[in-house]
């Protein structure tokens, strides 16, 4: 698995990308006082960057887990008052993807097999525990769980995407067919003006389907691996601006690019991001002089991130939609109001996520939108 992608997921589940901690948090559930202390020490000694919270009962563990969560749980199957398998089931109910490693006694292979069947990631025989044994098991369990979570996320995203796609593609195709049938009627009636109008609409509908497929191809390509180097965001933004030179002149628009930081990334992809944002800033804009400013956002020196902003004086986005605009195929306007595929910002979101960065929108309706992107600080 690609390291950058893995962290991306982690990042995106948190509200602030700058506060990620890499320490693995292990929750140990063991009722025997001596065992608890020994095992906790073994985990701490065998691992760098790990923290252990120890609980004596399943109830305590569940209460802690509900409040704080954990990256991995080590659970004694034989607790004084509770059945370890029940605690396992309760944990899995709260967090289906949390890896749980069962501790069993020697000769309890049957228990071990059962616990794996109901969702345990692994089992360790208590009598044979040592630091290496524990560390390997914890590391494997955590990375496997991260992978499972990612696959499940992707599956859900894919099926939602397909569902909308089917609708969005069927719509223009239905129109092509309908317009054809109507044209046929007009032809029989001999109304050539009407016939001409219908055929033009038909071509427009077909073009819309074609556009959608083209953009979709580009969107799907983003899953391929690309080379990341040190890139200048100013260069990427300038290239994007040049590609819009004609439209900028036509709309009497102004695109101002101020000093932007260097980041670790892919130049072509970042150009695509700027291109989509500039394109939107020009399109969703009723001002006689559209203005787009791309600049750094002031950040204190100590922060581990750099942020830039693309500001426009366009129509803005209603507060209730500022999050959904990044969803694939989500549109806010009808085709009569503004033409679009609903993939522009989704493409930005996907590229930005690949850069381990975050994009979000703030906006005042009627005044303009600001698209903020925050990257991890580039260290040369």
């Amino acid at each position: 698995m690609n390291e950058a992608k893995k962290t991306t997921h982690h990042l995106r589940n948190q509200s602030d990308p700058s506060v990620t901690s890499n320490a693995k948090r292990v929750l140990l559930v063991e009722d025997n006082d001596d065992d608890r202390e020994n095992i906790a020490n073994m985990i701490l000694d065998g691992n760098n960057g790990v923290s252990v919270h120890a609980a004596a009962t399943g109830d305590q563990a569940l209460a802690f887990f509900k409040e704080h969560g954990a990256d991995c749980v080590i659970l004694d199957y034989r607790l004084e008052a509770e059945d370890g398998l029940d605690v396992l089931a309760a944990l899995k109910k709260i967090a289906p993807f949390v890896p749980v490693i069962m501790l069993t006694g020697q000769g309890n292979e049957e228990i071990a097999a059962t616990s794996i069947k109901v969702g345990a990631a692994d089992y360790l025989v208590k009598q044979r525990l040592n630091e290496t044994y524990l560390r390997t098991s914890i590391d494997n369990a955590i990375s496997r769980a991260a992978l499972e979570l990612r696959v499940a996320d992707q599956d859900a995203e894919r099926s939602q995407f397909l569902n909308i796609l089917v609708h969005d593609l069927r719509q223009p195709l239905r129109n092509v067919r309908t317009l054809g049938e109507m044209a046929n009627e007009e032809m029989e009636a001999g109304d050539h003006d009407e016939l001409k109008k219908l055929l033009v609409s038909q071509a427009t509908a077909a073009t819309r389907a074609d556009e959608l497929i083209k953009t979709l191809e580009g969107y799907a390509m983003l899953d391929q691996d690309v080379a990341y180097t040190s890139i200048s965001l100013s260069d990427a933004a300038t290239m994007a601006k040049e590609n819009y030179a004609m439209v900028i002149a036509e709309r009497r628009a102004e695109v101002i690019i101020r000093d932007l930081p260097k980041v670790h990334g892919n130049r072509w992809q970042m150009m695509q991001v700027f291109q989509n944002l500039i394109g939107n800033g020009l399109k969703y804009n009723e001002s006689p002089n559209p203005q787009i400013i791309i600049e750094s956002e002031s950040e204190s020196e100590s922060e581990a991130t750099v942020a830039i902003v693309v500001k426009d004086n366009g129509i803005g986005v209603a507060q209730k939609h500022v999050k959904s605009i990044f969803s694939p195929l989500k549109r806010l306007w009808t085709h009569e109001q503004y033409i679009g595929t609903g993939l522009g910002l989704a493409t930005c979101d996907k590229i930005v996520a690949g850069h381990n960065a975050m994009i979000w929108c703030t906006s005042t309706e009627g005044e303009g939108s600001q698209f903020h992107i925050r990257f991890p600080k580039f260290v040369a």
Partner: protein, 147 residues
């Protein structure tokens, strides 16, 4: 039957709206006025007297025909809002969409949709099904008082 109550159509695609109107007015069989909202947000404004309908809140419609995949606030959210509003929830909502997705179908009925219609692909089929819907809702069943 009350012929003064409005039918509200929430549909972003003008071609589909045209086909709807053609079907509804076929054989001069329907006297009720029709109002067209092109987005979910406009539909909600119409129903709640917001946005451009703030100055003169329209009369409640007697029937709502709602597309699911709408720009902005989408049809699923519009349906949910209608069906959780004390005043609005008695108005029958006919969901009209090209989505045959079982999850969509189930979710809409769960939210309180009164019918779920998959738009037929061909124009004749589309018009025929809306004409039959019209006859069902305006000749067979009795509708609630809009106010």
């Amino acid at each position: 039957m009350d012929t003064s109550a409005t039918i509200l159509i929430v549909e972003d695609n003008p071609d589909d709206y045209e086909a709807c109107i053609t079907a509804l007015t076929q054989d001069n069989n329907l006297a009720n006025p029709v109002h067209w909202c092109k987005t979910g947000d406009e539909g909600l404004d119409y129903l709640c007297g917001g946005g451009k309908y703030a100055d003169s809140k329209p009369e409640m419609p007697c029937l709502i025909m709602l597309d699911l995949n709408l720009p902005g606030t989408d049809g699923r959210q519009v349906l949910a809002q209608i069906k959780t509003d004390e005043m609005l929830k008695k108005i029958p909502v006919i969901v009209m969409t090209s989505s045959r997705d079982q999850a969509d179908i189930d979710a809409c009925y769960r939210e309180g949709a009164n019918s779920y219609v998959v738009k037929p692909v061909d124009l004749d089929g589309f018009i025929a099904s809306i004409t039959r819907l019209r006859d069902y809702w305006f000749q067979i069943v009795v509708l609630p008082q809009p106010r």
